[in-house]
Subunit: 337 residues, 2 copies
DNA sequence: TGTTTTTGCTAAAACGTTTTATTAATATTG
DNA sequence: CAATATTAATAAAACGTTTTAGCAAAAACA
C-alpha cells in the first residue's frame, strides 16, 4: 500500500511549500504570481501521480461541501423520482452531489433530516416542504443557506419557489367538463392544507360557482390503496347524480378508477374523469384518462438553476423569486361526451 | 451571531481538556475512567447548549463519513425508485445518509461517479453495475470498502450480491404459456449482455427447447418510446404466427402493448402477453397483464442489511454472500386462453 | 516506609486542506 | 547609490475532531 498522497507529500516530493501547491491547484497561480515554470512542474506531477484533493479536508476548511440536500415527499412517487433524476443530473454536471430523503409529509422526520443535513454542511437545499416546517426553513435562510421550495407554497417563508398554476389548471379542467355538458362535477382531493391542494380546490370551486352548479367535494386520506378506494366508492354511491370527477392527484385517480370499475360504471358514459398530474397509466388505460400534466423537466431545471445561481454568487441579497410554471391539459377519452 | 460552538469551546467553558470532552461525547467515559461527576457535568452542558459535533472534522479524522453511495441505472424508473426509497429509509434509521446517482448504464459516467464518491469518503456502496465496471468495483473492495451489487451479476467480482431467480422465473412464465396451449412464443428483450438479461433469455430458451417449440427472439434497444415500439411492431408483422410474447422488462412491455394496440391485435385472443417486473399499469390495463413481480422491498432490505452488517464489523474477511430472492408470478387476463 | 498499581485526566499530534501575513530576492525609481 | 516597489515563494494558523502516550495523585501492596 503506497503512502497516502496529499498536498504536503507533493510539496515534499517537489521540494516546495504546501502553500505553493495549493495555490497552483486552486488556479490562483496568476493572482499569486507563481512562476510559469513552477506551475507546470506542479501540474505535471499532479497529473502523473493522479492526485485528487481530499474534499473532506477542503470542506472543513472552507465550510463548503459541494453537496445539495434534496428533500421530497416520497422519492418512490413517479413525479418526485422524475424530478430527482433531472436535478441529480444537472447538479452532477456542476460538480455537486445530491443527498436525498423522503419526508412522507412528516414534520418531525423533516426536522431531523434538516439537522442531519446541516451537520453534513450541505451547501443548499431543494425542499418539498410539509406543513409546519416554516421556522426551520427560515432558519436555514438566516444561516445563509440558499433554499428552493418546490411543488407547494409556505406562508411567511423567505425562499425561492417553483410551483405550477394549480388554481388555474383545475379551473380550466372543470370548465372543460362544463363545456362538455357535465352538470354534477365532483372534486376528490386529499384532506390536506398544503397550498397546492388548496389552490386546486379553489380552481374547482371558482369554475363551479361561475357556472352556477352544485359543488361535490370529497376529501379523503391516502393510505396507498384499499381504504382510499372504499371511501371514494361509498362517496359515489351516496351521490349517484355525479356525472364527472376531477381528481386532485394521480394516485387518488388510480384509486378512483378502481372504485369506478368495481361499481360497474363506464367511463365516460356514466362518469367522466380528469386527473391532476399525468401518469403513463392514463395514456394506456381504457379509456385513456384526460389529465393535467406538470412539466417535471422544467420544474427540476428551474429549481436546480435557481439554486446553483445562488450558490455561485452567494447572492442572498437578490430578492426572492417565485416561478410559476404552466401545466398542459391533455384531453383524452375519459372526458369526452 | 454567537461564536461557533465546538468541542474546544466546551472544554474552555468547563475548564477541562478537549480530550475529556471528546471521550465523554464518544461514550468512552467508562473505558477511560472519567469520573461520573465530570461526565454528568459535560453531558449537562452539552445538552444545555445543544451542541452537535462537526461531522466533517470527525470524518476527516476517522476516515468514516457515515454516507452510503447508491448507484442505480436510473432513479426515475419505478423499480429503482422503490428500492431507493426503502434503502434510504433504513439507512437513515441507522445513522447513514444516502448519496445517489444514475449511471444510465454508461461505464464512463459510472467511473466518474465512483471517483467522486471515493473523494467524498463514502463508507460503502450499493451498486447496480453497468458492464465494464469490474475493475473499479474490485478496486473498491481492495480498498476495504464494502460493496453490495444489485439486480445483476458481474463476473470475477468479489462483492456481495442480491439478485432474483431470473432464469427460473422466465422459464416458469414460458411454461405457463405452453400449458395454456400457446405454440409460437416470442421473447422480446434488450440487446444487452447484462447478466439478468442473459439469464432471462436462458430461461426462455430452456422452456422452448424442452417443449420442442420454435424460438422467436427479438432484441431491441430501448429509447424511451417510439423507435422501440416500431421495432416490436415490425417484428410482429414479419412473424404473424406468433401467438404470445414474454417481455424481458416492464418498459419493453409497455412499448409492446402500444405496438399491439396499433396493429389492432386483441390480447389474449390474438396474442398473449407476459412481462418481467410488475407495474401498476399492468394491474389496471384492459386486459390486465400477467407478470413476474420482483420483491423490491426484500431486495432493498437485503442489500442494505448486508451492507450495514459489513460496515458494523468491517468484516471484509467474511466470505462473500450471494442472495437470490424469489419472484412471484402473477397470472392475470393477458395470458389465459 | 518505599514501591507498584490504579485512577483520573490531559498535551499534543494527526487528519488534509485554505489563506493570511511575511520574507527574501530582484527590479525600478529618484 | 540608496530607497522603494514588485515578484516569487513560504511559514504557520486555522477548520474541529479523535486518539496515542503520558503524567500526577491516590490507592494498594510488600
Amino acid at each position: 500500500m503506497s503512502k497516502r498522497i496529499s498536498i504536503s507529500s507533493i510539496a515534499k516530493d517537489l521540494g516546495i511549500s504546501i502553500t505553493t501547491v495549493s495555490f497552483v491547484l486552486n488556479g490562483k497561480a496568476q493572482e499569486k504570481r507563481i512562476s510559469d515554470k513552477l506551475v507546470k512542474k506542479v501540474m505535471d506531477y499532479v497529473e502523473k501521480i493522479d492526485y485528487k484533493p481530499n474534499s473532506l479536508a477542503r470542506s472543513l476548511r472552507t465550510g463548503k461541501s459541494n453537496i445539495i440536500g434534496l428533500i421530497v415527499e416520497d422519492i418512490s412517487y413517479p413525479f418526485f423520482a422524475a424530478i430527482a433524476k433531472e436535478i441529480e443530473d444537472k447538479a452532477y454536471r456542476n460538480g455537486y452531489k445530491i443527498i436525498y430523503s423522503s419526508t412522507e409529509n412528516n414534520v418531525g422526520k423533516t426536522k431531523e433530516l434538516l439537522e442531519m443535513y446541516k451537520d453534513k454542511h450541505v451547501d443548499g437545499y431543494i425542499i418539498v416542504p410539509p406543513e409546519g416546517i416554516e421556522q426551520e426553513v427560515n432558519a436555514l435562510y438566516a444561516d445563509g443557506k440558499p433554499v428552493v421550495l418546490l411543488d407547494r407554497y409556505l406562508d411567511g417563508v423567505e425562499a425561492d419557489y417553483v410551483t405550477v398554476n394549480n388554481e388555474d389548471s383545475v379551473y380550466k379542467a372543470a370548465q372543460h367538463l362544463i363545456q362538455e355538458g357535465f352538470k354534477n362535477i365532483a372534486f376528490i382531493t386529499l384532506n390536506s392544507l398544503q397550498s397546492q391542494m388548496q389552490d386546486r380546490l379553489s380552481g374547482y370551486e371558482r369554475a363551479i360557482k361561475e357556472a352556477g352548479l352544485i359543488p361535490y367535494i370529497k376529501e379523503v386520506s391516502y393510505d396507498g390503496g384499499e381504504r382510499t378506494k372504499k371511501h371514494i366508492s361509498s362517496f359515489l354511491q351516496r351521490n349517484r347524480e355525479i356525472d364527472s370527477i376531477v381528481f386532485a392527484t394521480n394516485y387518488l385517480c388510480v384509486s378512483g378508477l378502481k372504485a369506478i370499475k368495481e361499481l360497474g360504471l363506464r367511463i365516460p358514459e356514466h362518469i367522466a374523469v380528469v386527473s391532476f398530474d399525468d401518469y403513463e397509466l392514463f395514456e394506456m388505460y381504457a379509456p385513456s384518462i384526460t389529465s393535467i400534466a406538470q412539466p417535471t423537466g422544467a420544474i427540476a431545471e428551474q429549481a436546480i438553476n435557481m439554486l446553483l445561481s445562488r450558490l455561485k454568487k452567494s447572492s442572498l441579497d437578490k430578492k426572492k423569486q417565485d416561478v410559476v410554471l404552466q401545466t398542459s391539459f391533455i384531453v383524452r377519452e375519459s372526458s369526452k361526451t
